[in-house]
C-alpha cells in the first residue's frame, strides 16, 4: 500500500474557538470513498490530530473524519488516545506502526527518484550518482521531506548520507544504479497514481450536485 498525499481538498473548514488556555481548533477530514481502508483512515486522523495539537497556541484539537463507514469508531478512538487496536477491539490485532513504516519506506524510495531525476537528465552517470550525498544537493522542500522520512524510519539523512540507498539503508553501488533508479521511478509512479485516483474520486464525491440517490 502506498497512500495518497492528502492535499487541501481533503480538509474541510472548521471553526477556531478562543479558550482561556489557548485556541480550540476543529478540523473535518474527508476521504475519497466511504470505504477507504480503516487503518489508513485512522492513521490520517491521528496524524492530523498530532499536527494540529503541536501548533503553538492550540490548546485542544478536535479532528473528525466525516462520511466514512467507521467515522464514529475512528473519531472516538483518536480523541480517547485508544490506539487502533483499542478502538477496534476484536477486529484489529496490530497497531499501525508497521503500516506507517511501509508508507515512509516507499516514500523514501520515491523521493530518491525525484531528487536524482534532474541529475540524470543533466547527464550524471552511475558512478557520479552512486557517490552523490545529500549535502551536495541544493536545499529544497523535496530534500527536506526525504530527510524527514528517512529520519522517521532510522535511515541515514545527514549531509554525508548517500542520495541513493536501499530500503535497508545500505548504499547503492554504481552497478546497481540503473535498476535502482527504475525501481525508484516505478515507486514514484505508483504513489503519484494512487494520489491522482484519490483526488479524482474525492472531487467527484464532493462536487456540487454529485450526490447519488439516498
Amino acid at each position: 500500500m502506498a497512500g495518497p498525499t492528502p492535499g487541501r481538498d481533503f480538509v474541510g473548514s472548521g471553526p477556531v474557538t478562543a479558550a482561556p488556555d489557548g485556541d480550540i481548533v476543529t478540523v473535518g477530514l474527508r476521504l475519497p470513498t466511504f470505504f477507504c481502508a480503516p487503518n489508513f483512515s485512522f492513521l490520517m486522523v491521528a496524524d492530523a490530530y498530532d499536527a494540529v495539537s503541536a501548533v503553538p497556541g492550540v490548546a485542544r484539537a478536535e479532528v473528525t473524519l466525516v462520511d466514512h463507514h467507521a467515522s464514529e469508531e475512528i473519531n472516538g478512538g483518536v480523541a480517547a488516545h485508544a490506539g487502533f487496536v483499542g478502538t477496534f477491539t476484536g477486529e484489529a490485532t496490530a497497531e499501525l506502526d508497521e503500516l506507517r513504516h511501509t508508507f515512509l519506506t516507499r516514500a523514501s524510495v520515491a523521493g530518491q527518484d525525484r531528487l536524482a531525476r534532474p541529475r540524470v537528465d543533466a547527464g550524471a552517470g552511475p558512478d557520479e550518482l552512486a557517490s552523490t550525498t545529500l549535502g551536495e544537493i541544493p536545499e529544497s522542500d523535496e530534500l527536506t521531506r526525504l530527510r524527514r522520512r528517512r529520519a522517521g524510519i532510522g535511515l541515514p539523512y545527514g549531509d554525508d548520507a548517500p542520495l541513493l540507498i536501499h530500503p535497508d539503508g545500505s548504499p547503492v553501488t554504481s552497478e546497481q544504479v540503473p535498476l535502482h533508479l527504475r525501481r525508484a521511478r516505478l515507486q514514484r509512479v505508483g504513489i503519484e497514481t494512487n494520489g491522482e485516483y484519490c483526488k479524482s474520486l474525492l472531487a467527484l464525491r464532493y462536487a456540487p450536485g454529485a450526490a447519488t440517490a439516498p
Binding site: 502506498a2 484489529a92 547527464g123 497514481t193 494512487n194 474520486l201 440517490a213
Partner: protein, 364 residues
C-alpha cells in the same frame, strides 16, 4: 472486428460483469454496505468521459439488451470474459454470480466465456460446488476475491493451505486462468488482504495456472511489477487502468502504461473494460488511438543529441521503426540521426551498418 486506419482488431474483453445491485437485492441490515459498494463503483464510473455517464438508478442493474448493445453492437467487443463476483453478504442473490452470467450464455454463447469462482473457506462443500460448476459451465477460468467477507472472516490468502487445495483441484479440473482481484483494502482492518505477495508464491507453485492480477494490484502497482517480472505465468489485467485513468488522468495513464510495458511487457497485458463500471466503446477506441506522449523517437533523439552536444560529447543515433521507413528516415536525418532500421530488425544489416560506422568515424 473493430477497424481503424485499415487495421483490424479482434477485441477480447477479459473483464466484464452483468451485475444486480438493485435495491431489491440488498441484504436487509447490510444496506449500507450494498449501497457503499455500488456507490464506490459509481464514483469510478464517472472517471470516464461525461457523455458515457449514466443515471445512478440505471447503473444499479442493466438489462440483457443494454449489455448486448454496449458490448457487442456499439462496444467493438468480439469476445468477453465474465468475472463472477458473489458478495452474498451484501447482495441477496449475489452481486454477479456464475448463474446470472450463464443466463446470458444462452443468447450469446459464441461471444461469451463465463468464469467461475471458488472460496477456500467453503471447504469440502465448496470443492464439490467447483466440480459441479466446471462440469456444468466448462469453466476455463475462475475469479477470486481474496478480500471477500465470509462469516467472521474478512479475507484469505492464496497461500493458505485450504486455498492450495482449491488451486490444485482447479488445475486438475482443467482450469487455466485464475483472475485475482487485487484492489484497495477494505477489510480486515489491520491486514492487507489485497497484498499481492500471495500470488507470487502460488504462481511459483502452480505452473499449470495463469494468474491474472486484475487492476494490476492498484494501489500496489510497484509490488505487482516486481513480482510479474519474475513470474512467467503472471499477467496484468488492465481493467480500471484504462477506464479509470485514460480519460481522467491521461498523463498518469501514460506513466502507468510505460511502467507496465517495461516491467511486464505487451504480451502479458490483457485488455479489460470492466463493464458496467464503464462501457467498452470509448476504451477500445481510445486505446487503439493512444500514443505514448512526448516519446516520439525522432523528438527524443533530437533531445539526446542536443544534450550530448551541450556536454561536448559525440553520440551516434539510429532509429528503428515499424512505420514508413522513408518518411521516418527524412525526419531522422533532419534531427541529426544517422539512419533508420525497419522492423523487424535484420541483425546482419544492423551489424554491417555498425561495422561501417566504426571503421569510418573520425578518431576521437
Amino acid at each position: 472486428m473493430y477497424e481503424k486506419d485499415g487495421e483490424k482488431y479482434f477485441v477480447v474483453d477479459s473483464h466484464s460483469h452483468f451485475w444486480d445491485a438493485s435495491k431489491e437485492n440488498w441484504v436487509e441490515g447490510k444496506e449500507q454496505y450494498a449501497k457503499g459498494w455500488i456507490d464506490c463503483f459509481y464514483g469510478y464510473h464517472q472517471l470516464g468521459p461525461p457523455e458515457t455517464h449514466w443515471d445512478w438508478e440505471k447503473y444499479l442493474k442493466v438489462t440483457p439488451e443494454d449489455f448486448e448493445r454496449d458490448m457487442f453492437i456499439e462496444g467493438h467487443v468480439d469476445y468477453a470474459i465474465f468475472q463472477s463476483t458473489y458478495l452474498r453478504e451484501w447482495y441477496k442473490n449475489g452481486f454477479n454470480t456464475a448463474d446470472q452470467n450463464a443466463a446470458l450464455l444462452e443468447r450469446w454463447g459464441d461471444k461469451l466465456i463465463v468464469n467461475g469462482r471458488f472460496d477456500p473457506r467453503e471447504g469440502d462443500a465448496g470443492l464439490k460446488q467447483l466440480e459441479a460448476d466446471v462440469a456444468k459451465y466448462k469453466h476455463k477460468g475462475v475469479k477470486l476475491y481474496t478480500a471477500e467477507w465470509n462469516g467472521d472472516s474478512r479475507g484469505y490468502k492464496l497461500t493458505d493451505p485450504e486455498a492450495y487445495r482449491f488451486l490444485q483441484a482447479a488445475q486438475d479440473l482443467g482450469i487455466k486462468n485464475v483472475h485475482v482481484h487485487k484492489g484497495p483494502t477494505i477489510w480486515p482492518l489491520d491486514k492487507d488482504a489485497f497484498d499481492v505477495a500471495d500470488v507470487d508464491h502460488a504462481a511459483t507453485d502452480f505452473q499449470g495456472l495463469n494468474f491474472i492480477v486484475e487492476h494490476v494490484g492498484l494501489p500496489r502497482i510497484e509490488d505487482f511489477c516486481f513480482m510479474a517480472v519474475q513470474e512467467p505465468n503472471v499477467y496484468a489485467g488492465l481493467s480500471v487502468v484504462v477506464g479509470g485513468l485514460m480519460h481522467a488522468r491521461p498523463k498518469f495513464f501514460a506513466k502507468v502504461m510505460g511502467e507496465l510495458l517495461f516491467w511486464v511487457g505487451e504480451d502479458k497485458m490483457l485488455f479489460g473494460g470492466d463493464y458496467n463500471i464503464w462501457t467498452p466503446k470509448w476504451q477500445v477506441e481510445g486505446l487503439v488511438d493512444w500514443q505514448m506522449p512526448d516519446s516520439d523517437g525522432v523528438a527524443v533523439s533530437r533531445e539526446l543529441l542536443a544534450a550530448a552536444q551541450a556536454r561536448h560529447q559525440s553520440l551516434a543515433v539510429w532509429l528503428m521503426t515499424g512505420a514508413d521507413v522513408n518518411l521516418v528516415n527524412r525526419q531522422a536525418q533532419a534531427a541529426g540521426c544517422l539512419g533508420v532500421f525497419a522492423k523487424p530488425l535484420h541483425v546482419p544489416e544492423l551489424l554491417a551498418v555498425l561495422q561501417a560506422w566504426l571503421e569510418h568515424r573520425a578518431p576521437a
